[in-house]
Amino acid sequence: MLLSSLGEKKMKYWRKPLDADKVKVPHGTVRIVKDRCKGCGFCVEYCPRNVLEISDEFNVKGYHPPYVKNEEDCVNCGLCELICPEFAIYSILEEELEEKDEQ
C-alpha cells in the first residue's frame, strides 16, 4: 500500500518527503489477548497511529480491554507489543498474515 493512499489527514508533514509516493508503508493487523489485559491504557495512548480505543466490554478480570478502532491505520510498528506490560497485544505484518493463511 502506498503512503499516499493512506490519506493525507493521518500523517501530517511540514514538508512532504520527496519519495513519499515511492515508500511502501507496511500494514499490520492488531491482535489482542483480551483476558490478559489490565486496562492500563498505555497502548491506546501511545499508538502512534491512534488505532486503538478502550472498549466498553469487560474481560474475565473485569477490565476494559482495548479494541481496534482504525484497523486500516496500523503500520505494524510493534509499539503496542513493547509497551504492553501484560503481553496482551501485538501486531502482525499483513503480508505475513496472508502467507500464514495460505499455508
Binding site: R31, V33, K34, D35, R36, K38, G39, C40, G41, F42, E45, Y46, V60, K61, Y63, L79, E81, L82, I83, C84, P85, E86, F87, A88, Y90
Partner: protein, 276 residues
C-alpha cells in the same frame, strides 16, 4: 486463555497473568527485555536471570530462562558465584531499587568495583512497592511514602552516579516509556564484558503515584514523556532526580575495562604459570 502472544516462548506462560498492578511499568520493561534478548542473538540456553525480593524480584519467575529468585538484596552475590563458576553464562540481575541499592547496596558497589560479568537491570519506582510503599534510598526528597507520611527528608542515591563511581563499564538510564531506547540499551549492555547497569524509571500507580497524588500509571508515563531530557554522555553527577523534576536519561558511560574473570585469570596465569 489459550490465545498466544509472540513473546510467550520466553515467558512461563502458565504463570501469566503476572502479579504486577495495572499501570505498573515492570511488565513493559520485561517486553523490552525479551525483545533485547531476541535482538542480541544470545544463546538462550546460556542466559540466566537472577532476582532478589520485591515486585521486580518476581521477574525471574516469569521468564522462561534459567532463573533464580534469591533472598532480599542478594541477587548480585548469587549472580557473582554463578557467573564465576560458569563463565559461559550471560548473567542478568533483574531487581528493584530497594533490593539492589538499600539492603543490597554493598554488593552492588563491590560487583561494579570488581567489574564482574553481569548486566544489572534496576527498576526504580522510588520506593518499596511490594511491602506497601515504604520510603527507600531512591525516594526523592519531599516525596511521600507509607513510612514517610510527611515527606522524605533524606537525600536519595543517584543510581547512575553510584554505578559509574563504583566502576561500571556501561551505565544508562531510561524510563519505562523509552521502549526502543531501553531495548537498545539492553542489547548494548548484554554485549558488554564486565559490569553493565541500566536504571529504568518506572511507574508505580499503587504506591508511589497514589501516595503522592500523581494519578495512574498512564499519568506517570505522560510525566516521563513531558519531563525526560535525553542527554547522552552527561556526567552522572549532574543527573540527580528530584520530586517531579526533569529526568535526565541517556547512555552516560560506555567504556572499556577488563572484566573481573578475564583479568584475574590472565594475571594469575602470568604469576603462577596457570593450571599445571
Amino acid at each position: 486463555m489459550n490465545e498466544k502472544h509472540p513473546m510467550d516462548y520466553l515467558l512461563r506462560e502458565d504463570r501469566i497473568p503476572h502479579i504486577w498492578c495495572p499501570g505498573c511499568g515492570i511488565g513493559s520493561s520485561v517486553s523490552c527485555f525479551i525483545m533485547a534478548l531476541e535482538e542480541s542473538g544470545l544463546d538462550l540456553k546460556k542466559v540466566a536471570v537472577v532476582s532478589g525480593i520485591g515486585c521486580t524480584g518476581r521477574v525471574a519467575g516469569y521468564v522462561k530462562l534459567d532463573s533464580f529468585h534469591t533472598t532480599h538484596g542478594r541477587a548480585i552475590p548469587f549472580a557473582t558465584g554463578l557467573a564465576l563458576a560458569n563463565p559461559d553464562l550471560k548473567v542478568i540481575v533483574y531487581s528493584g531499587d530497594g533490593d539492589l541499592i538499600a539492603i543490597g547496596g554493598n554488593h552492588f558497589i563491590h560487583a561494579a568495583r570488581r567489574n564482574v560479568n553481569m548486566t544489572v537491570i534496576c527498576i526504580n519506582n522510588f520506593l518499596y512497592a511490594m511491602t506497601g510503599g515504604q520510603v527507600g534510598p531512591t525516594t526523592p526528597l519531599f516525596a511521600k511514602a507509607s513510612t514517610s507520611p510527611y515527606g522524605n527528608f533524606e537525600q536519595p542515591f543517584n543510581l547512575v552516579h553510584l554505578a559509574a563511581a563504583s566502576g561500571a563499564v556501561y551505565v544508562a538510564r531510561w524510563t519505562a516509556l523509552h521502549l526502543r531506547r531501553l531495548t537498545k540499551a539492553m542489547v548494548e549492555a548484554f554485549k558488554k564484558k564486565g559490569f553493565s547497569f541500566i536504571e529504568v524509571i518506572s511507574p508505580c500507580p499503587t504506591s508511589y503515584a497514589r501516595r503522592n497524588r500523581l494519578g495512574d500509571g498512564l499519568a506517570q508515563m505522560k510525566f516521563y514523556h513531558d519531563n525526560s531530557i535525553i542527554r547522552h554522555g552527561a556526567d552522572p553527577k549532574d543527573t540527580d532526580i528530584g520530586f517531579q523534576t526533569k529526568i535526565v536519561v541517556g547512555k552516560f558511560i560506555d567504556k572499556e575495562r577488563p572484566d573481573h574473570y578475564t583479568f584475574m585469570t590472565q594475571e594469575l596465569e602470568k604469576v603462577t604459570g596457570g593450571k599445571k
